[in-house]
Structure formats: C-alpha cells, structure tokens
C-alpha cells in the first residue's frame, strides 16, 4: 500500500518528466526554437505563481491580489545576490549553481518575510481587508524598488547571470507542485478548506484560523519569491514595472480561469493563457479581441474555472481502501 502511494508521487514526477522529454525532443529536432522554449519556461514559472496564489485564494478562501509584489521581492533579492557575488565567476557552474540556489531560496525567504508583514495584521480581520492591503503592498514594493538606486531604480536591474534553463524550470516546478500538493492532502490542507467553507465553524472545531491563514499566506509568498528568482535569472533583466498590479491581475486570471479550487487548474490556466496569445499571433490585432472573449466565455460556461473541483489523476493521492465499509 505504501508502495502504491509512493508510486503516485512517482506518477506526478513521471508526468512532468514526460512533458519535459517531449519538449526537449522537439527542441533538439528544431521544431521548437529558443523563443518557444523561453515561453515554455515562463509557463513553468507561471504555474508555480498561480498555484501558490491558489493556496491563499482558492483553497483558503482569502482574496490576495498583489502576488507580483512578492515575486518582485524574490526576483530582486536573488538577482542582487548573484550579480554581486558572481560578477566574475559565472563561467564555473560548480560555483554558479550553488550560489544560484542559495540566492533564489534567500529570495523566497525575503518574500516570505514580506508576506508575514502584510498577512499577519490583515488576516486577523475577516472580510475584504486583505485585498486592499495586498494591492497596496504590491504597489508599495514596486515604488520602493523604483526609487532605490542600488536596485537599479527606474532603469531596471540588468547583467543578471542566466541560470534558468528548461531543466531548472522543470525541477523547480515539480518540487513546488509536489510540496504544495502534499500540503493540501494533509490535515493542514483540510483545515484550509474548512476555513474557506466556514471560518466560524472552523474556529468552533478547534482550528486556530488566524495562525493557519497567516502560515499559508507566508509560504505562498515564499513560492512567489522563489518564482521571482527563477524569472529574474531567465530574463537577465528585471524592471519594477514587470511586477506591477497588472502582473498580479494576470495571475488572478490564470487562477480563476483554470479553476481556483484545483491544483490541475493552476497548471492548465497559466499553460493555456501564456501560450494562447502566441498561438494566435497570425490573427494579429484580432487576438486581443479573442483573448478576452475566451475569458468571458469560460467564466459564463464554467464558473468554477476550466477544471472546477476536478484533478488530473497524476495529481491525486488515492484514498486508502477501508475494510468493512459498503459504499
């Protein structure tokens, strides 16, 4: 039985590796050029961003709308570390990659810290306060970066070494998705959903709802921060406007169109809506008509998002068979 369950985590990894293999093959055979590969890497980053946002919005029922702010904290923190430490020795991958990993984790921790500062006071309150506070925090972070000269200010921060490859993105996405999936399929994950369904009842069943909400918000910010780090080392140039409220809005769209209460939805949403504008390139200006049209139609016909409450089989952790229960 235990083997079967481990086998399921293997299934999750296998699914990702298969996707990777297909993309890599297409890349090597020349079907997918470097531009498309970069696009696919953005999909991977967006999946983690969307899923981490879904932890707060979809599964805990809060409404955070400034996720790009935490991404910015992670992007700038990690970029500062790698550019300052490695400006000469990027050529040696044995030095480069460990520093890169330390840098993106440090970015995650900084973002988590920012998440705590934003979440701890506002999650104590019930209702829509979180939306206003996260929106403000997003713009606050962006403005602070804009006026801080060390971070490049309004010129942006360039010269970031390129560490993010297709492989890095896949490993990053697999680890992040598996960790968050695991958390959701735990007692703590059940508590999150309880808070979403009825905060009053969750308190009445002995759950410290404030503590649980703050913890989810903090680790959501952590994953956003690490995503920011991976993002910065892909583009090699970051600008405060990369992390504006509009960016946060994009993640909200990915999340709610994909299905906010589904891990699979947080994969499908960003995958479709990162690739779609490119696939419709031949339609020229019309794609900016069709893109929102698709959004509207999805919301009308699938209010709960494309995936709704459903999950891909490879995401699920199966219930164990119980003895002596007739269903």
């Amino acid at each position: 039985m235990t083997f079967l369950r481990r086998h399921r985590t293997l299934a999750t990894i296998t699914a990702f590796v298969l996707v990777y293999a297909v993309i890599k093959t297409l890349n090597l055979t020349g079907t997918l050029n470097a531009y498309y590969i970069q696009l696919i890497m953005l999909v991977g980053i967006n999946v983690v961003m969307t899923l981490s946002l879904g932890m707060v919005n979809g599964f805990t029922g809060q409404f955070s709308i400034g996720h790009a702010g935490f991404m910015a904290v992670g992007a700038y923190t990690s970029a500062m570390i790698t550019t300052v430490w490695l400006h000469t020795s990027t050529a040696n991958p044995w030095v480069g990659y460990p520093v890169f990993i330390v840098a993106i984790l440090a970015g995650g921790l900084m973002a988590a810290g920012a998440g705590y500062l934003v979440g701890a006071p506002s999650l104590r309150l019930k209702g829509d306060y979180l939306a206003i506070v996260t929106l403000s925090a997003n713009e606050l972070i962006r403005t602070v970066i804009r006026i801080t000269d060390v971070l490049g200010g309004p010129r942006g921060l360039g010269g970031i070494p390129k560490f993010t490859t297709l492989e890095v993105v896949f490993v990053f996405a697999i680890v992040s998705v598996v960790l968050m999936r695991n958390y959701l399929f735990s007692s703590h994950g059940r508590s999150m959903k309880a808070i979403r369904d009825s905060e009053i009842a969750a308190e009445a069943t002995g759950i410290n709802t404030t503590k649980q909400k703050v913890f989810v918000f903090v680790f959501s910010a952590f994953f956003a921060g690490v995503s920011g780090g991976v993002f910065a080392h892909l583009l090699q140039f970051i600008h405060p406007d990369n992390f504006s409220f509009v960016k946060s809005l994009e993640y909200l769209i990915y999340l709610y169109v994909g299905g906010a209460t589904s891990i699979s939805g947080a994969i499908v949403g960003p995958a479709i809506f990162t690739l779609l504008p490119e696939l419709m390139r031949s339609l020229q200006s019309w794609r900016m008509v069709i893109y929102p049209l698709i959004l509207i139609l999805t919301m009308i016909f699938r209010t709960e998002g494309i995936m709704g409450l459903k999950e891909f089989n490879f995401i699920l952790i199966p219930q164990r068979q119980r003895k002596g229960v007739s269903a």
Partner: protein, 254 residues
C-alpha cells in the same frame, strides 16, 4: 463543583441588553434546556460560552478554569463543542474530511510532515482515517464517507454536524436548535440520540430548542429566558405550568 459554572453573565450590544445576569451551573452528565421566545438571548448565551463574543460582565468557569476572554478555538480545545442553528458544515469537503478537520488540533504531525509526507504523516493519516470512519459508523454515515457533505440529506447533515462536534472530544456539548426543520419522526429519533450521546460519550449537554415536545422529552432541567432575563427555571413539569412561561410564549391573558 459544577462542570460549567456561569455567574452574572451580562452582554450589551450598544445600548441593548441582550443577556442580563444569567446564571447556570451544569453538573457532569446533565441534559439542560434553554428556551424562550425569539430574541430572548439564547443564542447570545451560546456565543458567549464559546467565545464568539466576550461578555460585558460575568464569569464562565469550565472545569475549574475561567474561560472568559479565550478564543473560540481555545474553548473548543478545552472541551466545549457546539453545533449551529443553521447547519455550518464544510460543504465542499467530503463527509469524512469534516470529521478529520475536527481532529486537526489533536493531529500528531506538523507543517513539515505535511509538506514532505513523512512517515509521521502516513501514521497520522491512518490513525485519523480509522478514528473518523469509526465515528461515522456510530452515526450511520460510513456509507457516505467520501461524498461531499453538502450533498447529504438534511437529517444526515444534522447528524454529521453532531458527529463533527464529538470529534473534538468535548466534555460539554452545546446544541443550538438540533430539531429545527425536523418532522415528528425525525425529532423522536433525535431525542433518543441525545440520551444515547450523553451515555456513550460521557457528555454534559446544553441545548436550545423550540420544539417543546423535544425540550420536555429530553431535558432534565430547563431554563426559560425572555428579553435577556431568566424568568423561570426547573424540571419540565414545573416549566410547563408556570404562568410566566405561558405569558412569555403566548402573551398576557385577557
């Protein structure tokens, strides 16, 4: 000493006195009813006991410990569980998950185990699954274990809410209108169940109920409230014939 000892409980909402000098002592194993017309302050008393509101005045001593000012979840963890007047299940979670959620604060593993699905996680999950299915079986809900709780029929939802409250291992169970919306046959079943609950789980039960048949049939002692004041207290036969109670419910006779 009483298991739950409430003295001089008073609650103001602005200028409105919702509860005034409310006193009650629950002895271990008792079933006590709280009745009164709409707006009498019964649910406010429940909300004060469970920490939803902090009382303006008064003390609530549970098991020798003053619980005034504690948070709702701390009071639940201390051993007072409740159900709600309008059922509040976790409707998008399965039936069995509703039970497991109430077990959460006693769960043996932490955040790290949850992220990594360590051995401790699997042990904890197995334990809670066994526990939850056994509890569901007692309430004849095991066949619906994996259904969404929101899809259960009304009576089953009421039973599940009680089962969920029991999963916190309470000493005192507070039921807010458990028979609301039930037909006489279902209400009879409920009365039987309340007695059975008390014996099986060694509980002390405090309940609000509007169906007089249920209150009279199940409670050993009844307290009657009107406009925040306690107007009468005693055994069911006494309450039934008290003119103050009849007046509160039916109005002054001509």
């Amino acid at each position: 000493m009483a298991l739950l000892d409430i003295q001089h409980l008073t609650q103001f909402f602005g200028g409105l006195r919702a509860v005034s000098d409310f006193n009650i002592q629950l002895e271990h194993g008792e079933i006590v009813g709280l009745i009164g017309p709409n707006g009498a302050g019964k649910t406010t008393v429940f909300n004060l006991i469970t920490g939803v509101y902090t009382p303006t005045k008064g003390t609530i001593v549970f098991d020798g410990q003053n619980i005034v000012g504690k948070k709702t979840y701390q009071i639940t963890q201390a051993g007072i569980a409740r159900t709600f007047q309008n059922i509040r299940l976790f409707s998008k979670s399965s039936v069995i998950d509703n039970i497991k959620i109430a077990y959460h604060f006693r769960m043996s593993y932490g955040n790290t185990d949850a992220f990594l699905h360590t051995r401790k996680y699997w042990q904890g999950e197995q334990l809670v699954d066994d526990y939850a299915i056994d509890l569901l079986r007692l309430f004849h809900l095991e066949g619906h274990a994996d259904d969404l709780s929101g899809s259960l029929p009304y009576g089953a939802q009421r039973r599940l809410e009680i089962a969920r409250a029991l999963a916190t291992k309470p000493k005192v169970l507070i039921l807010d209108e458990p028979a609301a919306g039930m037909n006489p046959a279902e209400a009879d079943e409920l009365m039987e169940m309340i007695h059975w609950l008390r014996d099986k789980f060694d509980l002390t039960i405090l309940l609000i109920e509007h169906q007089m048949r249920v209150v009279m049939g199940v409670c050993e002692r009844i307290k009657v409230m009107d406009f925040g004041e306690t107007i009468c207290e005693g055994v069911p036969e006494y309450i039934r014939n008290d003119p103050r109670v009849i007046e509160a419910y039916l109005g002054k006779g001509a």
